[in-house]
Amino acid sequence: MMRAVRIKGLSLARGERTLFSGLDLDLESGQAAALLGRNGAGKTSLLRAVAGLLRPQAGTIAFEGPDGAPLEAEIARAEGLHLAGHHDGLKTTRTAWEELLFQVQWTGGTEASARAAVERLDLSRLLDLEVRRLSAGQRRRVSLARLLASPRSLWLLDEPMAPLDAAHRAVFGEILAEHLAGGGMLLAAVHDPLPIPARSVEVGA
């Protein structure tokens, strides 16, 4: 179980352009941080760097288990975090249920937990539809189901609520609050404020 993420002196570059440098961020169990900044400031890149998909130019990203014991980054990433962004990885020609179940099982959940997430996110009427027939908000709910169905402590979310309607934003706010209350951590790139108390981190200021 991951208990903390410590980012020290992080610099990220895309091509020749440095996005930001010297970013420090500590996130501990139960805390949420909202990444703010203009378009192209590097919020998404920061999330991908924490997930290990981008190599930082400088600085370190470390994960800690209970009692501050360091976790091996590769294992922490493979078992301890969810990354959910604009590219949801849902195959348009398969049904919502096939894709949802794959994403849940791939990240360590079970069919029963997938069913529970379907109930919670109000997806049961959509399950038989092909993904290409879903609206942007419905697709987002399908791709968020794995957060609920396969418990992992660190959630890296990229504009998670942008396509959601008001009712589902409220439900998602409750889900975030429960995740934090259960000792989880949240790092989210947002333009609208999160529906939960969160520290603001300015990226690329």
């Binding site: 991908r48 997930a51 290990g52 998909l53 981008l54 190599r55 990433r77 493979a78 078992e79 975090l81 969810h82 990354l83 962004g85 604009h86 590219h87 949801d88 990885g89 849902l90 195959k91 348009t92 020609t93 398969r94 096939e98 794959f102 994403q103 099982q105 791939w106 990240t107 360590g108």
Partner: protein
């Protein structure tokens, strides 16, 4: 292991669902084989001599068909992020993808290859060896093809690039396989060619996943 099975099942479902998978490859194979008599003339003895060779050529080309999208789709829609953050390393993800490609396209083609060769006039006695060669060669085609597909990730006109990267790597299995079949037809010892083919396939299966995983990581960065 469970995660690997889950991924393999999904890749197979995607391969079957996308334009019929094996059916499309088989249809393409049938077209190429049918074109040969039209192009080379219909003298039976000449066709019979060409039959095993053309069976190989058609196999190699058919294996290229669906390769371009092997990693590209997952790269574009974000699924590769999810696969990279999964419970098994990217090397195993690459193995699952290539294995599914082989099961969906390579294996059915290997079963069709002897039928095509015999239809063109080759001696039925080569059919068993041709099946074995096509199965092993197809495995090499899928894994080397995956290597080309991962290296071409993110490039425009990826399909052509994959073919240019991959076709030279297809030369050794074609040489070994066609050599073994030639020897068998000529009554010479043929096991040497087959063993070289099997060794080449085994090396491709063992080594290319490492390169594919590195290429995917590079593309995601």
């Amino acid at each position: 292991m469970r995660a690997f099975a889950i991924l393999l099942r999904r890749e197979l479902a995607l391969a079957w669902g996308r334009g019929g998978g094996p059916l499309l490859a088989l249809a393409f194979y049938a077209c190429v084989v049918t074109l040969l008599p039209l192009a080379a003339g219909r003298a039976p003895e000449r066709l019979a001599a060409l039959a095993p060779g053309i069976a190989w050529l058609a196999l190699a080309l058919s294996a290229l068909l669906s390769l371009e999208r092997l990693f590209e789709r997952d790269f574009e829609d974000g699924a590769l992020d999810l696969l990279a953050l999964g419970p098994v390393p990217l090397e195993a993800v690459a193995v699952a993808k290539c294995l599914a490609h082989w099961l969906a396209a390579g294996a059915p083609l290997a079963l069709a290859a002897p039928i095509a060769a015999v239809a063109l006039g080759a001696s039925p006695s080569i059919a068993p060896l041709l099946s074995v060669c096509a199965l092993a060669g197809g495995l090499a085609f899928s894994f080397l093809g995956g290597l080309g597909a991962s290296l071409a990730l993110g490039s425009r006109r990826g399909g052509l690039l994959v073919a240019v990267i991959v076709l030279p790597l297809y030369a050794p299995p074609v040489i070994f396989g066609a050599g073994a079949l030639d020897s068998l037809a000529g009554g010479l010892p043929w096991t040497g060619g087959l063993l070289f083919l099997l060794a080449y396939s085994a090396a491709a299966v063992a080594l290319s996943p490492l390169a594919m995983a590195a290429a995917c990581r590079n593309a995601l960065d």
